[in-house]
C-alpha cells in the first residue's frame, strides 16, 4: 500500500511578532523602572498591612540603621527649611559652620546628619559620596540627658512653622527597641505626637479580622 505522502512543512517561524512583543515589554519596563538613588544608609524596612503611600514633601525623616544608630534628614524638596534647620543648630550650639559646610547638608540630595554636634563640622567637610563605607556614630538618643535628636527635631519644627510637618520614622528590621524609644522620647518632648512609620506593604493575612472587615466594607486601603 502506498504511504500517504505528507507534505513537508517548513520549520521556519516568523519571529517578527515575538520580537515586537519583546521590545514592547522592554520599553514598558525601561519606562516603569525607578532606580533607587544610591543610599549611604541601607535600611530594610519591616512590612505592615498599611497601604497609605508615604509622603515626600514637608518630611522630617528619622532613620535607624541595623545597629540602632539614628540619623536625621529633611525631604529634598524643602531646601529653604533645610537651610533654616542647619542655621538654627549652628547658632544654638555655636558650631561656627562655614557656608560651604552648610551647603553640604542643604544642597545635596538625600543628605543626612549622622554624628553628634561635636563632630558635625568635620562631618560636613566631607561630601556624601565620601561617606560610603565610613562608620558613623549616629545622633545620640539613648540617654535622655544627652538626646541631641531632640534639638534637631526642635529646629525642624520651628523651620516648618505654619506648614504641616510630616514626621516619618524609617527603621531597620534589626534595630533594637531602645533606639526607637529614644526617637519617640525626642518627638514627644517636641509635642510631635503623630508620626508615621515607613513600612513595605503586604496583604493582610487570610482569615484575619482585618481581611473580613475589608471584604465587608469593600474598601481596599488600610490607613
Amino acid at each position: 500500500m502506498p504511504r500517504a505522502k505528507l507534505p513537508r512543512k517548513s520549520t521556519n517561524i516568523d519571529m517578527t511578532a515575538m520580537c515586537d512583543v519583546a521590545f514592547l515589554l522592554l520599553s514598558f519596563f525601561i519606562l516603569a523602572t525607578k532606580f533607587k538613588p544610591p543610599e549611604a544608609l541601607s535600611v530594610t524596612t519591616p512590612s505592615s498591612v498599611y497601604t497609605k503611600i508615604a509622603l515626600e514633601t514637608n518630611v522630617m525623616m528619622i532613620i535607624m540603621d541595623k545597629d540602632g544608630k539614628v540619623y536625621f534628614s529633611i525631604s529634598d524638596k524643602n531646601v529653604p527649611e533645610k537651610q533654616d534647620v542647619i542655621d538654627a543648630i549652628n547658632t544654638q550650639k555655636g558650631l561656627n559652620l562655614t557656608a560651604a559646610e552648610k551647603k553640604t547638608f542643604v544642597n545635596n540630595p538625600s543628605s543626612f546628619i549622622g554624628v553628634p554636634f561635636s563632630q558635625l563640622k568635620s562631618f560636613l567637610d566631607r561630601q556624601p559620596d565620601e561617606l560610603k563605607g565610613v562608620v558613623l556614630p549616629g545622633i545620640p538618643t539613648q540617654d535622655s540627658t544627652n538626646n541631641e535628636l531632640r534639638d534637631w527635631v526642635a529646629a525642624a519644627v520651628s523651620a516648618f512653622q505654619g506648614q504641616h510637618l510630616n514626621v516619618e520614622v524609617k527603621g531597620d528590621d534589626a534595630a533594637k527597641y531602645p533606639s526607637f524609644s529614644g526617637v519617640i522620647w525626642a518627638l514627644k518632648k517636641n509635642d510631635q505626637l503623630k508620626f508615621q512609620l515607613i513600612t513595605s506593604p503586604i496583604a493582610p493575612p487570610l482569615g484575619s479580622e482585618l481581611e473580613k472587615y475589608l471584604k465587608t466594607s469593600g474598601s481596599k486601603s488600610v490607613e
Binding site: N12, I13, D14, M15, T16, M18, C19, A22, F23, L25, L26, F29, I30, A32, T33, K34, F35, K36, T45, P46, S47, S48, V49, Y50, T51, K52, I53, A54, L55, M64, E168, K170, G171, D172, D173, A174, A175, K176, Y177, P178, F180, I184, L187, K188, D191, L193, K194, F195, Q196, L197, I198, T199, S200, P201, P204, P205, S208, E209, L210, V222
Partner: protein, 177 residues
C-alpha cells in the same frame, strides 16, 4: 530559523536589455535580537521597584502627670504583650505580670482574639511593651497586629524593670540566650 522577509513582492519588470543583477537576500536572522530583548526585559523586571513604601500611622498620647487626664484602664480588660529576644512574645492578661505566658508571632494572634472576644469592646485595651532586646521589626509587627486584629485601643509603653525581670526568668527557664 527566524527570518524577516523584506524582499518585496517580486519586484518590477525590468526593461529589455537591462541585465538582471543577482538578488541578495535581505533576510535577517532575528534570533540574537530577540535573545537580547528578553535578556534586557528580565533585567528590568528584576530591578523595577513597583511597590512604594507605605506609612503606618502612630499617634502617641501626651505625657501627663495629672491623674484626671490619664486614661483609665480596667484590670479585666487589659492585655499586655511584650516582644522580646529572638522573636519571642510574652503576654499576660490583667495587670499582674507574674501570669506571664510565652507565645510566638504565630500564636499571639489567637491569644489576642480570644481575649478580645471575652472582653467588652469599649474597655478592651492592648498594651505593647517591647523589652530592650526586641527589634524594631517586632515593635512594628506588634502595631501591625493591632490593625490586623482590629484592636481599636492600644498603647506603646516602655517596659518596667519588674516586668523585664519576669521575662528574664522565663527566658532563662526556656534556655533563650
Amino acid at each position: 530559523m527566524a527570518e524577516m522577509d523584506t524582499s518585496g513582492g517580486g519586484g518590477h519588470k525590468k526593461g529589455p536589455g537591462v541585465k538582471k543583477s543577482k538578488k541578495l537576500s535581505t533576510r535577517v536572522d532575528l534570533t540574537p535580537m530577540v535573545d537580547l530583548g528578553f535578556l534586557l526585559i528580565t533585567f528590568f523586571i528584576f530591578t523595577t521597584t513597583m511597590s512604594q513604601p507605605s506609612a503606618m500611622k502612630l499617634n502617641l498620647p501626651k505625657d501627663t502627670d495629672k491623674p484626671d487626664e490619664q486614661n483609665k484602664l480596667k484590670e479585666s480588660a487589659a492585655f499586655t504583650i511584650m516582644p522580646g529576644k529572638n522573636d519571642q512574645v510574652y503576654y499576660y492578661e490583667g495587670l499582674d505580670p507574674s501570669k506571664l505566658q510565652t507565645a510566638t508571632w504565630k500564636t499571639i494572634r489567637d491569644a489576642i482574639l480570644d481575649k478580645k472576644r471575652r472582653t467588652n469592646p469599649d474597655d478592651f485595651m492592648v498594651i505593647i511593651k517591647p523589652d530592650k532586646d526586641a527589634t524594631y521589626k517586632n515593635t512594628v509587627d506588634a502595631l501591625d497586629e493591632m490593625k490586623i486584629d482590629e484592636v481599636k485601643r492600644y498603647a506603646l509603653v516602655d517596659i518596667t524593670p519588674f516586668e523585664y525581670g519576669f521575662i528574664q526568668k522565663t527566658e532563662a527557664a526556656n534556655g533563650i540566650k
